[in-house]
Protein backbone atom coordinates (compact mmCIF):
# COMPACT_ATOMS: atom_id res chain seq x y z
CA UNK A 1 0.00 0.00 0.00
CA UNK A 2 1.24 3.47 -0.80
CA UNK A 3 1.74 5.88 2.06
CA UNK A 4 -0.89 8.58 2.61
CA UNK A 5 -0.30 11.99 1.03
CA UNK A 6 -1.10 13.77 4.30
CA UNK A 7 -1.27 12.46 7.86
CA UNK A 8 -1.90 14.59 10.93
CA UNK A 9 -2.13 13.61 14.56
CA UNK A 10 -3.51 16.02 17.19
CA UNK A 11 -2.21 18.93 15.13
CA UNK A 12 -2.69 22.12 17.15
CA UNK A 13 -1.91 25.81 16.77
CA UNK A 14 -2.49 28.45 19.43
CA UNK A 15 -2.33 32.22 19.10
CA UNK A 16 -2.03 33.39 22.72
CA UNK A 17 -5.06 31.97 24.54
CA UNK A 18 -6.90 31.29 21.31
CA UNK A 19 -6.74 27.78 19.86
CA UNK A 20 -7.15 28.27 16.12
CA UNK A 21 -6.60 24.61 15.22
CA UNK A 22 -7.43 22.18 18.01
CA UNK A 23 -5.93 18.69 17.88
CA UNK A 24 -7.02 17.70 14.39
CA UNK A 25 -6.29 14.17 13.22
CA UNK A 26 -6.89 12.90 9.70
CA UNK A 27 -5.34 11.19 6.69
CA UNK A 28 -5.61 11.98 2.99
CA UNK A 29 -4.81 9.21 0.50
CA UNK A 30 -2.78 9.75 -2.64
CA UNK A 31 -4.93 10.84 -5.56
CA UNK A 32 -7.84 11.68 -3.29
CA UNK A 33 -9.93 14.84 -3.67
CA UNK A 34 -10.28 15.98 -0.07
CA UNK A 35 -12.68 18.84 0.74
CA UNK A 36 -11.67 20.83 3.79
CA UNK A 37 -14.79 22.73 4.87
CA UNK A 38 -15.71 25.02 7.72
CA UNK A 39 -17.26 28.36 8.56
CA UNK A 40 -15.25 31.62 8.34
CA UNK A 41 -12.86 31.62 11.30
CA UNK A 42 -13.15 27.87 11.96
CA UNK A 43 -9.39 27.40 11.62
CA UNK A 44 -9.06 26.14 8.04
CA UNK A 45 -6.48 28.68 6.91
CA UNK A 46 -4.29 28.10 9.98
CA UNK A 47 -4.37 24.34 9.37
CA UNK A 48 -3.58 24.81 5.70
CA UNK A 49 -0.64 27.12 6.41
CA UNK A 50 0.85 24.50 8.75
CA UNK A 51 0.44 21.76 6.14
CA UNK A 52 2.15 23.95 3.52
CA UNK A 53 5.12 24.44 5.83
CA UNK A 54 4.44 28.15 6.34
CA UNK A 55 3.51 28.09 10.03
CA UNK A 56 4.96 26.05 12.89
CA UNK A 57 2.42 24.05 14.91
CA UNK A 58 2.15 24.50 18.68
CA UNK A 59 1.91 20.74 19.14
CA UNK A 60 0.94 17.55 17.35
CA UNK A 61 2.36 15.78 14.33
CA UNK A 62 1.91 15.95 10.60
CA UNK A 63 3.59 14.62 7.49
CA UNK A 64 2.95 15.97 4.01
CA UNK A 65 4.20 14.00 1.00
CA UNK A 66 6.15 11.93 3.50
CA UNK A 67 7.96 14.94 5.02
CA UNK A 68 7.77 16.24 8.57
CA UNK A 69 6.13 19.68 8.93
CA UNK A 70 8.53 20.74 11.70
CA UNK A 71 11.86 19.85 10.17
CA UNK A 72 11.38 19.38 6.42
CA UNK A 73 9.34 22.40 5.34
CA UNK A 74 11.59 23.17 2.36
CA UNK A 75 11.12 19.65 1.01
CA UNK A 76 7.37 20.02 1.47
CA UNK A 77 7.30 23.28 -0.48
CA UNK A 78 8.99 21.59 -3.45
CA UNK A 79 6.45 18.80 -3.50
CA UNK A 80 3.23 20.83 -3.20
CA UNK A 81 1.34 23.30 -5.34
CA UNK A 82 -0.79 26.11 -3.92
CA UNK A 83 -3.39 28.45 -5.29
CA UNK A 84 -5.94 30.73 -3.71
CA UNK A 85 -8.54 33.08 -5.04
CA UNK A 86 -6.77 36.04 -3.48
CA UNK A 87 -3.19 35.51 -4.54
CA UNK A 88 -2.22 33.63 -7.59
CA UNK A 89 -0.69 35.37 -10.57
CA UNK A 90 1.17 38.61 -11.24
CA UNK A 91 -1.33 40.88 -12.97
CA UNK A 92 1.32 43.05 -14.61
CA UNK A 93 3.15 40.13 -16.18
CA UNK A 94 1.90 38.40 -19.31
CA UNK A 95 0.52 34.87 -19.33
CA UNK A 96 3.83 33.52 -20.64
CA UNK A 97 5.90 35.53 -18.18
CA UNK A 98 3.87 34.17 -15.26
CA UNK A 99 4.48 30.62 -16.47
CA UNK A 100 8.20 31.28 -16.84
CA UNK A 101 8.37 32.96 -13.45
CA UNK A 102 6.71 30.13 -11.53
CA UNK A 103 8.56 27.48 -13.53
CA UNK A 104 11.79 29.19 -12.53
CA UNK A 105 10.79 29.43 -8.86
CA UNK A 106 10.17 25.70 -8.84
CA UNK A 107 13.54 25.03 -10.43
CA UNK A 108 12.48 23.81 -13.87
CA UNK A 109 15.11 24.04 -16.63
CA UNK A 110 14.67 26.40 -19.60
CA UNK A 111 13.81 23.46 -21.75
CA UNK A 112 11.24 22.13 -19.30
CA UNK A 113 9.68 25.58 -19.03
CA UNK A 114 9.48 25.85 -22.83
CA UNK A 115 7.80 22.47 -23.12
CA UNK A 116 5.43 23.10 -20.22
CA UNK A 117 4.46 26.50 -21.62
CA UNK A 118 3.47 25.04 -24.96
CA UNK A 119 1.54 22.16 -23.42
CA UNK A 120 -0.23 24.37 -20.90
CA UNK A 121 -1.28 27.04 -23.41
CA UNK A 122 -2.52 24.35 -25.77
CA UNK A 123 -4.53 22.60 -23.12
CA UNK A 124 -6.20 25.79 -21.91
CA UNK A 125 -6.70 26.97 -25.49
CA UNK A 126 -4.87 30.20 -24.64
CA UNK A 127 -2.20 30.37 -27.35
CA UNK A 128 -3.59 33.67 -28.63
CA UNK A 129 -3.48 35.18 -25.16
CA UNK A 130 0.11 34.11 -24.42
CA UNK A 131 1.45 37.65 -24.60
CA UNK A 132 -1.48 39.37 -22.94
CA UNK A 133 -1.19 40.83 -19.46
CA UNK A 134 -2.88 38.65 -16.88
CA UNK A 135 -4.85 41.70 -15.68
CA UNK A 136 -6.70 41.73 -19.03
CA UNK A 137 -7.98 38.15 -18.68
CA UNK A 138 -11.49 37.33 -17.44
CA UNK A 139 -11.54 35.96 -13.90
CA UNK A 140 -12.44 32.43 -14.97
CA UNK A 141 -9.41 32.23 -17.28
CA UNK A 142 -7.14 33.54 -14.57
CA UNK A 143 -8.33 30.83 -12.21
CA UNK A 144 -7.78 28.08 -14.75
CA UNK A 145 -4.35 29.48 -15.58
CA UNK A 146 -3.35 29.73 -11.95
CA UNK A 147 -4.38 26.14 -11.30
CA UNK A 148 -2.28 24.97 -14.24
CA UNK A 149 0.66 27.00 -12.96
CA UNK A 150 0.20 25.62 -9.44
CA UNK A 151 0.81 22.13 -10.84
CA UNK A 152 3.54 23.11 -13.34
CA UNK A 153 6.25 21.34 -11.30
CA UNK A 154 4.19 18.11 -11.09
CA UNK A 155 3.59 18.32 -7.35
CA UNK A 156 2.19 15.30 -5.56
CA UNK A 157 -0.30 17.43 -3.60
CA UNK A 158 -2.05 20.66 -4.53
CA UNK A 159 -3.71 22.95 -1.98
CA UNK A 160 -6.61 25.03 -3.32
CA UNK A 161 -8.01 27.76 -1.07
CA UNK A 162 -11.47 28.79 -2.31
CA UNK A 163 -10.38 28.52 -5.93
CA UNK A 164 -13.81 29.19 -7.47
CA UNK A 165 -15.24 32.12 -5.49
CA UNK A 166 -17.17 34.53 -7.72
CA UNK A 167 -16.50 32.52 -10.88
CA UNK A 168 -19.35 31.98 -13.39
CA UNK A 169 -21.14 28.62 -13.26
CA UNK A 170 -19.69 27.19 -16.46
CA UNK A 171 -16.11 28.16 -15.65
CA UNK A 172 -16.55 26.84 -12.13
CA UNK A 173 -17.34 23.42 -13.58
CA UNK A 174 -14.53 23.60 -16.12
CA UNK A 175 -12.28 24.29 -13.17
CA UNK A 176 -13.48 21.09 -11.53
CA UNK A 177 -12.72 19.24 -14.77
CA UNK A 178 -9.09 20.29 -14.25
CA UNK A 179 -9.23 19.08 -10.65
CA UNK A 180 -10.69 15.70 -11.63
CA UNK A 181 -8.14 15.30 -14.38
CA UNK A 182 -5.23 15.95 -12.01
CA UNK A 183 -6.63 13.60 -9.37
CA UNK A 184 -7.03 10.97 -12.07
CA UNK A 185 -3.27 11.24 -12.69
CA UNK A 186 -2.62 10.60 -9.01
CA UNK A 187 -2.26 14.18 -7.75
CA UNK A 188 -3.79 14.65 -4.30
CA UNK A 189 -6.22 17.59 -4.10
CA UNK A 190 -6.81 19.43 -0.83
CA UNK A 191 -9.53 22.02 -1.44
CA UNK A 192 -11.63 24.53 0.53
CA UNK A 193 -14.85 25.98 -0.82
CA UNK A 194 -18.01 27.79 0.24
CA UNK A 195 -20.02 26.19 -2.59
CA UNK A 196 -21.72 23.20 -1.04
CA UNK A 197 -22.42 21.57 -4.40
CA UNK A 198 -18.64 21.40 -4.83
CA UNK A 199 -18.39 19.50 -1.55
CA UNK A 200 -20.24 16.72 -3.39
CA UNK A 201 -17.44 16.48 -5.96
CA UNK A 202 -14.91 15.47 -3.30
CA UNK A 203 -14.10 11.85 -2.43
CA UNK A 204 -14.18 12.73 1.26
CA UNK A 205 -14.72 15.91 3.21
CA UNK A 206 -14.04 17.18 6.68
CA UNK A 207 -16.02 19.93 8.38
CA UNK A 208 -14.27 22.11 10.96
CA UNK A 209 -16.15 23.95 13.69
CA UNK A 210 -14.29 26.15 16.20
CA UNK A 211 -10.89 24.61 15.49
CA UNK A 212 -11.97 20.96 15.63
CA UNK A 213 -12.89 18.48 12.92
CA UNK A 214 -16.49 17.63 13.71
CA UNK A 215 -17.28 15.41 10.74
CA UNK A 216 -15.18 13.46 8.26
CA UNK A 217 -16.45 11.01 5.66
CA UNK A 218 -17.68 10.66 2.09
CA UNK A 219 -20.45 13.13 1.14
CA UNK A 220 -23.06 10.37 0.92
CA UNK A 221 -22.12 8.89 4.31
CA UNK A 222 -22.29 12.34 5.92
CA UNK A 223 -25.72 13.02 4.46
CA UNK A 224 -26.89 9.69 5.83
CA UNK A 225 -25.28 10.30 9.22
CA UNK A 226 -27.00 13.68 9.59
CA UNK A 227 -30.27 12.67 7.95
CA UNK A 228 -29.80 15.51 5.46
CA UNK A 229 -30.77 15.78 1.80
CA UNK A 230 -27.84 17.98 0.78
CA UNK A 231 -24.36 18.88 1.98
CA UNK A 232 -25.66 22.37 2.65
CA UNK A 233 -28.02 20.92 5.28
CA UNK A 234 -25.19 18.93 6.85
CA UNK A 235 -23.08 22.08 7.02
CA UNK A 236 -25.86 24.20 8.51
CA UNK A 237 -26.61 21.58 11.18
CA UNK A 238 -22.99 21.37 12.27
CA UNK A 239 -22.07 25.03 12.13
CA UNK A 240 -25.30 26.24 13.73
CA UNK A 241 -25.10 23.71 16.56
CA UNK A 242 -21.82 25.16 17.81
CA UNK A 243 -22.51 27.71 20.52
Amino acid sequence: MTQPAITTHALTRRFGDFIATNAITFEVAQGEIFGFLGANGAGKTTAMRMLCGLLKPSSGEARVAGFDIYTQTEKIKQRIGYMSQKFSLYEDLTVKENIRFYGGIYGLSHRQIREKTGALLGKLDMEKEANMLVSALPLGWKQKLSFSIAVIHDPSIVFLDEPTGGVDPITRRQFWDLIYESADKGVTIFVTTHYMDEAEYCNRISIMVDGKIRALDTPSALKQQFGAATMNDVFLQLARAKS
Binding site: P169, I170, W176, D177, Y180
Partner: protein
Amino acid sequence: MQPIVVQHISKSYGKVSALRDVSFTVGPGELFGLIGPDGAGKSTLFRILATLVLADKGQAFVNGKDVVKDYRAIRREVGYMPGRFSLYQDLTVEENLRFFATIFNTTVNANYDMIRDIYEQIAPFKDRPAGKLSGGMKQKLALSCALVHRPSVLFLDEPTTGVDPVSRKEFWEMLQRLRQRGIPILVSTPYMDEATLCDRVALIQNGALMRIDTPTAIVEQFSTKVWAFRASDTWRLIRDLRAYPGVESCFAFGEFLHVVMNADPEKVKQDLITEGHTGVAYQPANAGIEDVFMALMRAQTEIS
Protein backbone atom coordinates in the same frame (compact mmCIF):
# COMPACT_ATOMS: atom_id res chain seq x y z
CA MET B 1 -42.79 56.49 -8.47
CA GLN B 2 -40.36 53.60 -8.99
CA PRO B 3 -37.46 53.94 -6.54
CA ILE B 4 -34.84 52.72 -9.04
CA VAL B 5 -35.10 53.25 -12.80
CA VAL B 6 -32.29 52.31 -15.18
CA GLN B 7 -32.72 53.20 -18.87
CA HIS B 8 -30.35 52.02 -21.61
CA ILE B 9 -27.20 52.44 -19.52
CA SER B 10 -23.89 51.67 -21.24
CA LYS B 11 -20.40 52.11 -19.87
CA SER B 12 -16.98 51.23 -21.25
CA TYR B 13 -13.52 51.33 -19.72
CA GLY B 14 -11.25 51.73 -22.73
CA LYS B 15 -12.01 48.83 -25.01
CA VAL B 16 -13.83 46.84 -22.35
CA SER B 17 -17.62 47.18 -22.31
CA ALA B 18 -18.63 46.97 -18.66
CA LEU B 19 -22.34 47.54 -19.32
CA ARG B 20 -24.26 47.23 -22.58
CA ASP B 21 -27.69 48.87 -22.87
CA VAL B 22 -28.94 47.88 -19.42
CA SER B 23 -32.54 48.72 -18.47
CA PHE B 24 -34.68 47.68 -15.49
CA THR B 25 -36.73 49.13 -12.66
CA VAL B 26 -37.05 48.24 -9.01
CA GLY B 27 -40.46 48.77 -7.41
CA PRO B 28 -41.30 50.06 -3.92
CA GLY B 29 -40.30 47.54 -1.26
CA GLU B 30 -38.90 45.16 -3.82
CA LEU B 31 -35.88 42.92 -3.16
CA PHE B 32 -34.22 42.87 -6.57
CA GLY B 33 -31.23 40.61 -7.24
CA LEU B 34 -28.49 41.18 -9.78
CA ILE B 35 -27.15 37.68 -10.35
CA GLY B 36 -23.89 37.13 -12.19
CA PRO B 37 -20.22 36.22 -11.86
CA ASP B 38 -17.33 38.56 -11.07
CA GLY B 39 -16.60 40.82 -14.01
CA ALA B 40 -20.19 40.76 -15.31
CA GLY B 41 -20.60 44.52 -14.69
CA LYS B 42 -22.52 44.46 -11.42
CA SER B 43 -20.22 46.80 -9.49
CA THR B 44 -20.11 49.33 -12.32
CA LEU B 45 -23.89 49.50 -12.25
CA PHE B 46 -23.87 50.09 -8.49
CA ARG B 47 -21.30 52.86 -8.85
CA ILE B 48 -23.43 54.58 -11.49
CA LEU B 49 -26.53 54.38 -9.28
CA ALA B 50 -24.58 55.55 -6.23
CA THR B 51 -23.47 58.59 -8.33
CA LEU B 52 -19.79 57.66 -8.16
CA VAL B 53 -19.25 56.92 -11.87
CA LEU B 54 -20.82 58.49 -14.95
CA ALA B 55 -22.43 56.31 -17.59
CA ASP B 56 -21.43 56.79 -21.25
CA LYS B 57 -25.02 56.45 -22.43
CA GLY B 58 -28.47 56.19 -20.92
CA GLN B 59 -30.16 57.57 -17.83
CA ALA B 60 -30.80 56.39 -14.32
CA PHE B 61 -33.05 57.69 -11.53
CA VAL B 62 -33.12 56.96 -7.83
CA ASN B 63 -36.26 58.09 -6.01
CA GLY B 64 -37.13 59.99 -9.17
CA LYS B 65 -33.86 61.96 -9.08
CA ASP B 66 -31.33 61.96 -11.91
CA VAL B 67 -28.03 60.30 -10.96
CA VAL B 68 -26.07 62.99 -12.81
CA LYS B 69 -27.91 66.22 -11.98
CA ASP B 70 -29.23 65.38 -8.53
CA TYR B 71 -26.26 63.44 -7.21
CA ARG B 72 -26.06 65.37 -3.93
CA ALA B 73 -29.65 64.58 -2.98
CA ILE B 74 -29.26 60.93 -3.97
CA ARG B 75 -26.18 60.48 -1.81
CA ARG B 76 -28.16 61.51 1.26
CA GLU B 77 -30.97 59.10 0.50
CA VAL B 78 -29.20 55.87 -0.37
CA GLY B 79 -27.39 53.30 1.73
CA TYR B 80 -24.51 51.75 -0.21
CA MET B 81 -22.45 48.75 0.78
CA PRO B 82 -19.60 48.45 -1.73
CA GLY B 83 -18.21 45.10 -2.80
CA ARG B 84 -14.91 45.43 -1.01
CA PHE B 85 -14.95 45.69 2.76
CA SER B 86 -15.36 49.44 3.11
CA LEU B 87 -15.05 50.12 6.82
CA TYR B 88 -12.13 51.56 8.72
CA GLN B 89 -10.20 48.49 9.85
CA ASP B 90 -8.45 50.30 12.71
CA LEU B 91 -11.60 51.87 14.15
CA THR B 92 -13.71 49.76 16.49
CA VAL B 93 -17.14 48.46 15.60
CA GLU B 94 -18.79 51.26 17.55
CA GLU B 95 -16.48 53.96 16.17
CA ASN B 96 -17.23 52.91 12.60
CA LEU B 97 -20.95 53.13 13.22
CA ARG B 98 -20.66 56.54 14.90
CA PHE B 99 -18.44 57.79 12.08
CA PHE B 100 -20.97 56.89 9.38
CA ALA B 101 -23.83 58.40 11.41
CA THR B 102 -21.87 61.63 11.89
CA ILE B 103 -21.00 62.17 8.24
CA PHE B 104 -24.72 62.01 7.49
CA ASN B 105 -25.40 64.59 10.21
CA THR B 106 -27.26 62.22 12.45
CA THR B 107 -26.62 60.02 15.48
CA VAL B 108 -26.71 56.29 16.12
CA ASN B 109 -29.40 56.77 18.77
CA ALA B 110 -31.73 58.70 16.48
CA ASN B 111 -31.90 55.78 14.06
CA TYR B 112 -31.21 52.87 16.36
CA ASP B 113 -34.51 51.17 15.46
CA MET B 114 -33.23 50.79 11.87
CA ILE B 115 -30.20 48.76 12.87
CA ARG B 116 -31.22 47.17 16.18
CA ASP B 117 -31.81 43.65 14.78
CA ILE B 118 -28.47 43.54 13.03
CA TYR B 119 -26.34 45.56 15.40
CA GLU B 120 -27.36 43.56 18.47
CA GLN B 121 -25.63 40.54 16.93
CA ILE B 122 -22.29 42.35 16.80
CA ALA B 123 -22.72 44.62 19.85
CA PRO B 124 -20.80 42.17 22.12
CA PHE B 125 -17.75 43.03 19.99
CA LYS B 126 -18.31 46.78 19.86
CA ASP B 127 -14.79 47.57 21.16
CA ARG B 128 -13.04 45.30 18.67
CA PRO B 129 -11.28 46.85 15.64
CA ALA B 130 -13.33 46.18 12.50
CA GLY B 131 -10.29 44.58 10.86
CA LYS B 132 -10.33 41.83 13.50
CA LEU B 133 -13.90 40.68 12.88
CA SER B 134 -14.75 37.43 11.12
CA GLY B 135 -16.16 37.59 7.57
CA GLY B 136 -19.80 37.27 8.56
CA MET B 137 -19.52 39.89 11.31
CA LYS B 138 -17.79 42.38 9.03
CA GLN B 139 -20.74 42.14 6.67
CA LYS B 140 -23.20 42.75 9.51
CA LEU B 141 -21.26 45.84 10.57
CA ALA B 142 -21.08 47.10 6.99
CA LEU B 143 -24.84 46.67 6.64
CA SER B 144 -25.40 48.53 9.93
CA CYS B 145 -23.21 51.39 8.67
CA ALA B 146 -25.14 51.51 5.39
CA LEU B 147 -28.42 51.78 7.31
CA VAL B 148 -27.50 54.15 10.12
CA HIS B 149 -28.68 57.31 8.30
CA ARG B 150 -32.10 55.76 7.56
CA PRO B 151 -31.75 55.50 3.76
CA SER B 152 -34.84 55.05 1.61
CA VAL B 153 -33.04 52.84 -0.94
CA LEU B 154 -30.39 50.20 -0.27
CA PHE B 155 -27.58 49.16 -2.64
CA LEU B 156 -25.68 46.04 -1.58
CA ASP B 157 -22.85 44.97 -3.85
CA GLU B 158 -21.96 41.31 -3.24
CA PRO B 159 -22.58 41.35 0.51
CA THR B 160 -22.14 37.57 0.80
CA THR B 161 -19.08 36.90 -1.36
CA GLY B 162 -16.50 34.80 0.48
CA VAL B 163 -18.91 34.35 3.38
CA ASP B 164 -19.63 30.82 4.63
CA PRO B 165 -23.06 29.21 4.09
CA VAL B 166 -24.25 29.83 7.65
CA SER B 167 -23.43 33.54 7.63
CA ARG B 168 -24.89 33.85 4.14
CA LYS B 169 -28.17 32.42 5.37
CA GLU B 170 -28.22 34.81 8.34
CA PHE B 171 -27.49 37.76 6.09
CA TRP B 172 -30.40 36.94 3.79
CA GLU B 173 -32.71 36.57 6.77
CA MET B 174 -31.78 40.13 7.72
CA LEU B 175 -32.55 41.33 4.20
CA GLN B 176 -35.99 39.70 4.37
CA ARG B 177 -36.71 41.65 7.55
CA LEU B 178 -35.55 44.92 5.97
CA ARG B 179 -37.79 44.28 3.00
CA GLN B 180 -40.75 43.95 5.37
CA ARG B 181 -40.03 47.54 6.39
CA GLY B 182 -40.67 48.53 2.78
CA ILE B 183 -37.13 49.52 1.82
CA PRO B 184 -36.34 48.67 -1.81
CA ILE B 185 -33.11 46.73 -2.02
CA LEU B 186 -30.85 46.17 -5.03
CA VAL B 187 -28.45 43.36 -4.15
CA SER B 188 -25.87 41.56 -6.28
CA THR B 189 -24.44 38.10 -5.84
CA PRO B 190 -22.41 35.51 -7.73
CA TYR B 191 -24.20 32.71 -5.80
CA MET B 192 -26.99 31.48 -8.06
CA ASP B 193 -28.85 29.79 -5.19
CA GLU B 194 -29.48 33.20 -3.61
CA ALA B 195 -31.63 34.21 -6.60
CA THR B 196 -34.60 32.32 -5.15
CA LEU B 197 -34.58 34.64 -2.12
CA CYS B 198 -35.33 37.72 -4.27
CA ASP B 199 -38.68 39.04 -5.51
CA ARG B 200 -37.25 39.51 -8.99
CA VAL B 201 -33.81 38.99 -10.46
CA ALA B 202 -31.79 40.11 -13.44
CA LEU B 203 -29.26 37.61 -14.78
CA ILE B 204 -26.17 39.51 -15.93
CA GLN B 205 -23.16 38.32 -17.91
CA ASN B 206 -20.57 40.25 -19.95
CA GLY B 207 -22.27 43.56 -19.14
CA ALA B 208 -25.66 42.58 -20.57
CA LEU B 209 -28.87 41.57 -18.83
CA MET B 210 -29.87 38.17 -20.19
CA ARG B 211 -33.18 37.88 -18.35
CA ILE B 212 -35.35 39.79 -15.85
CA ASP B 213 -38.22 38.08 -14.03
CA THR B 214 -39.27 36.40 -10.80
CA PRO B 215 -37.03 33.44 -9.97
CA THR B 216 -40.00 31.09 -10.30
CA ALA B 217 -40.95 32.37 -13.75
CA ILE B 218 -37.36 32.16 -14.97
CA VAL B 219 -37.17 28.50 -14.02
CA GLU B 220 -40.68 27.67 -15.28
CA GLN B 221 -40.06 29.20 -18.69
CA PHE B 222 -36.95 27.10 -19.12
CA SER B 223 -38.30 24.43 -21.44
CA THR B 224 -35.15 22.42 -22.02
CA LYS B 225 -35.40 18.92 -20.60
CA VAL B 226 -32.58 18.21 -18.17
CA TRP B 227 -31.63 14.73 -16.94
CA ALA B 228 -29.76 13.99 -13.74
CA PHE B 229 -27.24 11.13 -13.98
CA ARG B 230 -24.86 9.63 -11.51
CA ALA B 231 -22.42 6.75 -11.33
CA SER B 232 -19.66 5.64 -9.00
CA ASP B 233 -16.86 7.26 -11.01
CA THR B 234 -18.02 10.84 -11.61
CA TRP B 235 -15.07 12.01 -13.68
CA ARG B 236 -15.30 9.04 -16.04
CA LEU B 237 -19.07 9.59 -16.28
CA ILE B 238 -18.57 13.25 -17.26
CA ARG B 239 -16.16 12.28 -20.03
CA ASP B 240 -18.24 9.39 -21.33
CA LEU B 241 -21.47 11.39 -21.37
CA ARG B 242 -19.86 14.35 -23.14
CA ALA B 243 -18.67 11.96 -25.83
CA TYR B 244 -22.09 10.29 -26.11
CA PRO B 245 -24.00 11.00 -29.36
CA GLY B 246 -26.80 13.52 -28.82
CA VAL B 247 -25.45 15.02 -25.59
CA GLU B 248 -25.40 18.82 -25.81
CA SER B 249 -24.05 19.62 -22.38
CA CYS B 250 -23.03 17.76 -19.26
CA PHE B 251 -22.06 19.50 -16.04
CA ALA B 252 -21.70 18.45 -12.42
CA PHE B 253 -24.50 19.59 -10.09
CA GLY B 254 -23.83 18.32 -6.59
CA GLU B 255 -24.01 14.55 -6.48
CA PHE B 256 -25.60 14.32 -9.96
CA LEU B 257 -24.60 15.47 -13.40
CA HIS B 258 -27.09 17.62 -15.29
CA VAL B 259 -27.30 16.47 -18.86
CA VAL B 260 -29.08 18.12 -21.78
CA MET B 261 -29.40 15.63 -24.63
CA ASN B 262 -31.35 14.18 -27.51
CA ALA B 263 -31.18 10.58 -26.42
CA ASP B 264 -33.25 8.02 -24.56
CA PRO B 265 -31.99 8.04 -20.95
CA GLU B 266 -32.69 4.34 -20.46
CA LYS B 267 -30.56 3.48 -23.48
CA VAL B 268 -27.84 5.82 -22.21
CA LYS B 269 -27.92 4.03 -18.87
CA GLN B 270 -27.62 0.59 -20.48
CA ASP B 271 -24.74 1.74 -22.68
CA LEU B 272 -22.94 3.19 -19.66
CA ILE B 273 -23.31 -0.11 -17.81
CA THR B 274 -21.99 -1.96 -20.87
CA GLU B 275 -18.97 0.36 -20.84
CA GLY B 276 -18.26 -0.76 -17.28
CA HIS B 277 -19.89 1.97 -15.17
CA THR B 278 -21.32 0.94 -11.81
CA GLY B 279 -24.00 2.56 -9.69
CA VAL B 280 -25.62 4.20 -12.71
CA ALA B 281 -28.91 5.98 -11.99
CA TYR B 282 -30.89 8.72 -13.70
CA GLN B 283 -33.99 10.80 -13.11
CA PRO B 284 -35.53 13.97 -14.54
CA ALA B 285 -33.62 16.90 -13.03
CA ASN B 286 -35.26 19.86 -11.37
CA ALA B 287 -33.66 22.62 -13.39
CA GLY B 288 -32.72 25.65 -11.32
CA ILE B 289 -31.52 29.22 -11.91
CA GLU B 290 -28.02 27.93 -12.48
CA ASP B 291 -29.15 25.67 -15.35
CA VAL B 292 -30.94 28.62 -16.94
CA PHE B 293 -27.95 30.89 -16.44
CA MET B 294 -25.63 28.38 -18.09
CA ALA B 295 -27.98 27.88 -21.04
CA LEU B 296 -28.25 31.66 -21.52
CA MET B 297 -24.46 32.04 -21.26
CA ARG B 298 -23.99 29.46 -23.98
CA ALA B 299 -26.54 31.21 -26.19
CA GLN B 300 -24.81 34.55 -25.59
CA THR B 301 -21.44 33.09 -26.59
CA GLU B 302 -22.89 31.66 -29.80
CA ILE B 303 -24.33 35.03 -30.82
CA SER B 304 -21.17 37.06 -30.22
